[in-house]
Symmetry: C2
Subunit: 559 residues, 2 copies
C-alpha cells in the first residue's frame, strides 16, 4: 500500500491529465485536484465554438466521449481522484511540503500535505491598461463563464457590431463566432498582418483577403487608445489612432499571461512562466508544472518559449503523471504548431516563421507552391498554398505555413513529423507520401514544394516575391509576361503597366517579342508555368527573368 500524496493545482487540461495518469500508474496514490473555478477538465479550446453556437450545449465541452460530464463525483467514482472544486491554492510551503487552499465562497482554509505537487494554474487574459477596460460589454475569452456571458450579452443587448482587439488565434476564432451571430465584426491589430504569431505577413495577407470576402473588417497597424462607453456605461465603440469604430461589444484578445504568482511566491524559478526541465519538473524536484503556466522549448531554435496550447498541456500532463509515480518520460518541447479553420478556409504553421528564422540569423530561402489539394482532374479539389522555408546551405526546413480552402491541417502534421527529425528539403522531396486520386496528387503538394525549393536553392529557379511583384506593377522598367491561356486571362487581369500575353505553349516560338531592355517577370496562375517560362526565356538569351512566386491566384493585388 503506497501512501504517495499527490496534489494537483489546476483542473482544466494539464492538471486532470497528470492526476488521471498518476492514478493509472499508481492506483494507490492519493490524488487531490484543486480547481478554483466552477468546472474541471473542460475543452477550453472549444469555447469559441460554443460562443458561435457551433457547439450547442456548454456541457458538451465537459463530457467524455460517452457523454459523462466530468464532475467531481465522476472523477471520484471512475478515477478515485478527490476534487476540491471552487477551492483556490493560496500558498505552497516547500519546507513543510504542504499547500494552503481556500474555498472561494466561504473562505475556509485547509492545509494539504504533498509528496509530489503539480502546478497547472494555466493563464489568464491580459487586460491592457486602457480607459474603460472593465466597462460592461468588454469581454475576454478564457473561461466557460466568459463564453456564456458574451453569448448572453449578444442575445439580450441587441448587439449589432463587435470589435475584436487582437488578430491572434483566439481573437480570430471568436470573430468567426460573432459573424455566426450576424454581427458586423471589425478586427483591430497593432501589427501589420493577421495571425502575427503564426503566419508571416504575406500569408496573413492572403488569409485576410479571403476573410474580407466573408465580410470581416480589418484595421491593421492600429492601436486602440481607449474603449468608448455610452451614458449607461456600456461599450459604444473604441477609439484608435486611425479613428473610432462603433461597437456594442468589445473582445480583448491580446494574449494571455501565465498564472505564476504561486510559483514565484514559493521561490521556484520563473521566467515569463515557470521554468521546467524536460521531465516537466520545476527547480524544486518534488514540484512539477505543465500547461499554460510553463515555458517550453522550441525544438527548431532551441530557445525557451512561451507557447500555451491545449495539446501541449495534455502531453505534458501525461509525462508528469508518469514521472511523479516513479516513471521516466520526457517532453522535449514544441514546434509552435498552430492550425485554425475559419469559414471554409484553414491555415496552419509549424516550426519557425520566416521572420523569426531571419531574426535568429538563419540564411533562408522561401518557396511558395499553390496547387489543388487532390488530383487536379478529380471533382471536389480545392486549392492550398504551401510555403516552405529552408536554410540555403543546410537545406534544413525550419518552418512551413499553409493556407487555403483545401486540406491544410494534416499536411502541417506531416511537416511536424518531418521537422521533429530535422528534415531537409531532400528528405521531403522523396518521402513516400500517399497517393490516390480522390485523396492526393501523384506529386503531393509537399513534394512539389520541396522540389521548387531545391530549384530555388540550387539557383535554377528565380522567383520574385509577392511584395516586390506588387511594388513593380507600375514600373516602366519591368515587363510582365502572362503565360496563361486567353480564357484564363479573360477571367482575371493583373494591374501591370507593361504586360504581354504569350501562352506558355507559344513562348519558345515568340520569345523574341519580349523586350530586351526591361526586367522580365513571367507569371501564371499557380506558378507551374512560371518556372518553365523563366527557363525558356533564359535559354532564349534573357538573363533578367523572374517568375511570380506562387503565381497570381492567391495574392491580393488591388490594395
Amino acid at each position: 500500500m503506497s501512501d504517495l500524496k499527490i496534489v494537483v493545482i489546476g483542473g482544466v487540461a494539464a492538471g486532470p491529465k497528470a492526476a488521471a495518469r498518476a492514478k493509472r500508474c499508481n492506483p494507490d496514490a492519493q490524488v487531490t485536484l484543486i480547481e478554483k473555478g466552477e468546472w474541471i477538465s473542460y475543452g477550453g479550446c472549444g469555447l469559441p465554438y460554443y460562443l458561435g453556437a457551433t457547439v450547442k450545449d456548454l456541457n458538451d465541452l465537459m463530457t467524455t466521449s460517452w457523454d459523462a460530464v466530468r464532475t467531481p463525483e465522476f472523477m471520484k467514482a471512475t478515477k478515485d481522484i478527490d476534487t476540491l472544486l471552487g477551492w483556490e491554492a493560496t500558498r505552497i510551503n516547500r519546507a513543510d511540503k504542504t499547500v494552503e487552499v481556500k474555498e472561494v465562497k466561504t473562505g475556509e482554509v485547509k492545509i494539504l500535505p504533498y509528496d509530489k505537487l503539480v502546478i497547472a494554474t494555466g493563464a489568464e487574459n491580459f487586460k491592457p491598461p486602457m480607459e474603460n477596460i472593465n466597462a460592461t460589454g468588454v469581454f475576454g475569452m478564457k473561461t466557460p463563464k466568459d463564453a456564456v456571458d458574451m453569448q448572453n450579452y449578444i442575445k439580450t443587448e441587441g448587439v449589432e457590431s463587435a470589435v475584436v482587439i487582437g488578430a491572434g488565434l483566439i481573437g480570430m476564432e471568436c470573430a468567426e463566432a460573432f459573424a455566426n451571430w450576424g454581427l458586423d465584426v471589425t478586427i483591430i491589430e497593432m501589427q501589420g498582418s493577421i495571425f502575427p504569431q503564426v503566419l508571416d505577413a504575406e500569408m496573413g495577407a492572403v488569409f485576410q483577403n479571403y476573410l474580407e470576402g466573408e465580410d470581416l473588417n480589418f484595421m491593421l497597424n492600429t492601436k486602440v487608445e481607449k474603449i468608448l462607453v455610452n451614458e449607461e456605461g456600456k461599450v459604444s465603440g473604441v477609439q484608435t489612432d486611425k479613428g473610432t469604430v462603433d461597437a456594442q461589444l468589445v473582445l480583448v484578445a491580446v494574449g494571455v499571461r501565465p498564472c505564476v504568482q504561486l510559483a514565484v511566491d514559493a521561490g521556484l524559478e520563473v521566467d515569463k512562466a515557470i521554468i521546467i526541465n524536460d521531465h516537466c519538473q520545476t527547480s524544486d524536484p518534488d514540484i512539477y508544472a505543465a500547461g499554460d503556466c510553463v515555458m517550453t522549448t522550441n525544438l527548431i531554435s532551441g530557445q525557451r518559449v512561451y507557447a500555451p496550447m491545449g495539446s501541449t498541456a495534455n502531453r505534458q500532463g501525461r509525462v508528469i503523471g508518469t514521472n511523479i509515480t516513479g516513471g521516466d518520460e520526457v517532453h522535449k518541447g514544441v514546434l509552435n504548431t498552430a492550425v485554425c479553420k475559419m469559414f471554409d478556409w484553414s491555415l496552419g504553421a509549424t516550426g519557425l516563421s520566416e521572420r523569426v528564422a531571419k531574426q535568429l540569423g538563419y540564411d533562408t530561402v522561401t518557396a511558395i507552391v499553390p496547387g489543388p489539394d487532390i488530383t487536379h482532374f478529380m471533382p471536389g479539389k480545392k486549392l492550398i498554398m504551401t510555403r516552405l522555408v529552408a536554410g540555403r546551405k543546410t537545406r534544413k526546413i525550419p518552418g512551413v505555413q499553409i493556407v487555403g480552402p483545401g486540406k491544410v491541417d494534416k499536411r502541417i502534421d506531416t511537416m511536424v513529423a518531418a521537422l521533429t527529425f530535422g528534415a531537409t528539403v531532400d528528405d521531403l522531396a522523396n518521402m513516400d507520401l500517399s497517393y490516390a486520386p480522390p485523396l492526393s496528387s501523384a506529386m503531393e503538394n509537399l513534394t512539389n514544394a520541396a522540389n521548387v525549393m531545391k530549384n530555388t536553392i540550387e539557383g535554377k529557379a528565380h522567383d520574385m516575391r509577392y511584395e516586390e511583384f506588387k511594388s513593380k506593377l507600375d514600373s516602366d522598367d519591368v515587363v510582365f509576361v502572362d503565360l496563361r491561356t486567353a480564357h484564363e486571362r479573360a477571367q482575371k487581369a493583373i494591374p501591370a503597366k507593361h504586360q504581354l500575353h504569350i501562352p506558355i505553349e507559344e513562348l519558345r516560338a515568340r520569345a523574341n517579342e519580349v523586350p530586351k531592355d526591361k526586367e522580365v517577370v513571367v507569371f501564371c496562375i499557380l506558378s507551374t508555368r512560371g518556372f518553365e517560362g523563366q527557363l525558356i526565356l533564359n535559354n532564349a538569351g534573357y538573363d533578367n527573368v523572374k517568375f511570380v512566386q506562387g503565381g497570381i491566384q492567391f495574392w491580393p493585388l488591388d490594395k
Copy 2:
C-alpha cells in the same frame, strides 16, 4: 552547345517526368520520348474514376492543370521534347548506344542514338492462365483503352453483374466504379482478406464489413477456376472452388507484371523487375530506369521490393532527369505507402504490415485505437481506427494502418514522415501535432495510439485482440464486462454467452460482482474505458483481466 542525346522509353509517368526534368536542367539536351500506345503523360491512377464516371472526360486525365492536353505537339512547343507516339522500342544496343524503334502501325524502323537512356516501360496486367481468359467481356485495367472499352461494354451490353477477380487496390477501385453504374458486384479473392498487400486481416475485415453495407459481395479464400461464356462466346460468369457466380463482365485484377523484356534482352540486371541503384541507374551506367518496371527498396526492412506506384514513378523520374544531365540526386526507396477511398470510407497504410513484420522476425506489439477524427464535441466528427505496430524492445514503429469514415490519408502521411526517420512510439507520443477543435483533438489520434502502445509495451495495458475476442464469445470460462452506459448497451449488444453490465463509473464500487473463477474481458465502444476498467479490476484483485483491443465499434462480430 551540348549535344547530349537522351532517349526515354515509355511515355506515361516516370518517362515524361524524366524527359521534362532533363530539359529543365539542360535546355540544350536533345530529348526523344518513345511511347507505343496512343497517349502520353496520363494519370493512369485516375482510370478507375473515369470508368466510374466520376471523371467525365477521358481527356481530363491527360491535361495539365490549365487544361492543355499533353499531346506530342504540346511537348514540343512547351518543353522542346520530341515524342514518337505509336512507336515501340524493340531493341537496345548497348555497344553502339542505340535504340531500335518501330512504328506500331507501319512497321517502319528507326535507330536512335543515345548518350543516356531511360527505361520507363511500366507494367502490364497479369493474365492468369485460365480457360476463356480472352473471352469477350473479360477485361484488365491498365490503359485508357481498357477503361473506355469497359465503360462502353457496360453501356451497350446490358451488364447487370460484374465479377472482380482480386481484392487489391485496382480491383477494389474498379469495384466501386461498377457499383456507380448500378451493377451487382462480387469481388473474389484468393487470400483470406481484402487489400491483402495493404491491410492486415483484421483491418481488412473491418473495411470489408463496411463495404458489405454498401452492397458489395465478397468471396474470400476463393480460387477462380475458369471463366464461363455463353453461346456467343461472351462472359456469363466464373466458376470457383466455392461455386459459380453469374456475371456479364469480369475484371481480372490480380496484379501487374513489369515490362522488362527489353532490359533482359539488353543484358541488364533484372530480378522480378529491373534493378537500379539509389541514383535510379541500372547495371549499365548510361541506362536509367524508373517506375513500374523497376525494383525499389523498402526503407523499413531494407529489402528489395516490387512496389509499383504512380507517385514513386514521378519521384524517380525527376531524380533521373537530374542525374542524366550532370546532377546528383538519390531516391532511397519507399515505405509501401498506400491509400484508397471507397464510398464514404478510406484506408491507408505505410511501412510494414504486422504480417510481414512478423515474417521478417520482428518482435511486434500492436495497438488499435479508434476515435473521432476531430474533437468529439464538434459537429461533423467521424471515426477512424488507427493501428500501430511497434517493436517490443526497439520501440520503433515499422508500420501503421488506418481505416474509417474520418480523415485517414494525411495521418498516414504524418506517419510516412515519422517512419522515414525511424520514429519510436516515444517520438510519436510527444510530437507537436496540430490542434484546433474543428480539425483535430487535443490528444491527436496518433498521439493516443502512441500512448496506448506505450502502455501495452510497458505491460500496463493488457488487451485482447479481435480474433481471440471473437473466439471467446461462447466460452464458459470467460465473462465479458460491459463498461458502457445503459443507453449505449441498448443500441448494440455483443453475442457473449456470459456477460455483466457495469458502467465504468460504477466499476470501482461493484467490482466484487465480477466472478473470480473466470477470465475477465472488459469492453466499451472505443476502448477509452477498457484500459481504465482493466486497471480498476487489477486493483480490486483480479489478475486475469483484459480489455477488448479497439473496443467493439468496428469489429464484425456476427460472422
